[in-house]
Symmetry: C2
Subunit: 247 residues, 2 copies
DNA sequence: ACAAGTCATAATCTCGAGATTTTATCAAAT
DNA sequence: ATTTGATAAAATCTCGAGATTATGACTTGT
């Protein structure tokens, strides 16, 4: 039975080589926004971008419209598109909402997850652990980011609610953007790996209550790190014009 | 402080006469889908629709792309758009997720809401009460639907989390569609008004716990009504081709 | 010197037609 | 009789240009 968010789910998994130009541009644009190459607040003029992405203006507009779904770009009527601004207040909202939703999803997964879920989770945890002992305290890299994403996806994969997972996908992308914006400014002084271990063990032990608590603490603590840096980091990185875009 | 979902919020309130054709078509299409005039599963061929809505094919496509954000339309690569299908399983997911999120939002509103929130809520409750004593057990009408929507919006308006409200907006639209699809098949044998009274009183009394419980029961009971009718109602109404569209 | 109004520039929004892909039809072979 | 393959039709996807609207600079008046 197809579900409204199947499309989103498809987007989440490995970006199956898009067969339409719109999907292609959509994915590239999204990556550029999340990676921070397109800074928050940047005006997205279709006239300029179409020469960069080598597509027509109409195609560009459609891709931008798709990005609005993810709340990564904002459409102002008759005034074009801009990259969604960032703020500490927004980050706090994203974090709190995600912590609540993901705790709920994990509890659900623990209740409903089958052997396949456990197996996938175990694999994702193993991959993440290796990535974490390899970088050993260094700042986050792309590979770690991918492993972390897969671990969190595997955690909630056992949750039967497609809508809950859909919303979590959106929120994860948002938090990922914040994490990358402040990537080089945030030295991880806390033991992230220990937190992941606690989450994993609680999940495998089928301890709903503990898993919910731990995951909530885990997500909320990422906010504290950024908050400690102050709003300056965001203001400094954001609202910059003429961003450099990858070739 | 602008927020990604400001656009959505704007859509929610009185549809300020859209200044672009795309927004106009988007709103009309959305209304036609939610009202049930465009049945679930219907193929949305831009070539056909453009003559109905009197716009170009490209404009039509953009409006359809916007609908994908709301998960009311599904885009299949190179194979066009269709109205999102319905199923009892999907409705159960929508309902459960909304019950959880709205209970959370109401508790938050009770904690954070100010006098203005109480005043607006009181007004919305009054309006809804009048609408309910007027129809007195009859099937739901458009005016009641509008009042109900405003009541629920007023309830969560005090919740500071824009993301939570954003997700609730999406879920409400989904549930509204299901309600209208089975509108004439579902005689309200329960006392909906009593439930609304309980919610309102708990909210005004600032009783977080009770308000959360009551709203969760309230939302979940709407599922029970539809479930009692069986999947037949949805199958019967849905998956029909060549829908009739308003002039 | 400052404010308000006016006009040129630039960007967005919209359109109709052409290129590509999918879907349906139909004949032929096992 | 069923399946396979090729062909025709329909729909989607993409483009470049024209119409509409917003932005910024300039002039004018107090």
């Amino acid at each position: 039975m197809p579900h409204p968010s199947d499309l989103e789910s498809a987007r989440t998994s490995e970006a199956a080589s898009p067969r339409t130009l719109i999907q292609d541009v959509y994915q590239r644009l999204r990556a550029d926004i999340i990676s921070g190459e397109l800074k928050p607040g940047t005006r997205l003029r279709a006239e300029h971008l179409k020469s960069i992405y080598n597509v027509s203006g109409a195609t560009m507009r459609e891709a931008l419209g798709l990005l609005v779904s993810d709340a990564l770009v904002i459409a102002r009527e008759q005034r074009g598109f801009i990259v969604a601004p960032v703020s500490l207040e927004d980050l706090a909202d994203i974090t709190a909402t995600r912590a609540m939703l993901e705790a709920h999803a994990v509890r659900m997964a623990i209740r409903q997850g089958d052997d396949e879920w456990e197996a996938e989770l175990s694999g994702a945890f193993h991959r993440l652990s290796r990535a974490e002992e390899r970088r050993a305290g260094a700042t986050a890299d792309d590979y770690w980011e991918a492993c972390n994403k897969k671990f969190h996806e595997a955690l909630v994969a056992g949750c039967q609610s497609q809508w809950t997972r859909h919303f979590l996908t959106i929120l994860y992308r948002q938090s990922e953007r914040y994490r990358r914006i402040a990537r080089f400014n945030a030295p991880p002084d806390r033991d992230v790996h220990a937190e992941h271990v606690a989450i994993y063990e609680a999940a495998i032990a089928r301890d709903e209550e503990r898993a919910g608590e731990v995951i909530e603490l885990h997500i909320n603590s990422t906010l504290d790190v950024l908050r400690g840096l102050g709003e300056g980091v965001l203001a400094e990185e954001g609202y910059q014009l003429s961003p450099r875009i990858r070739a």
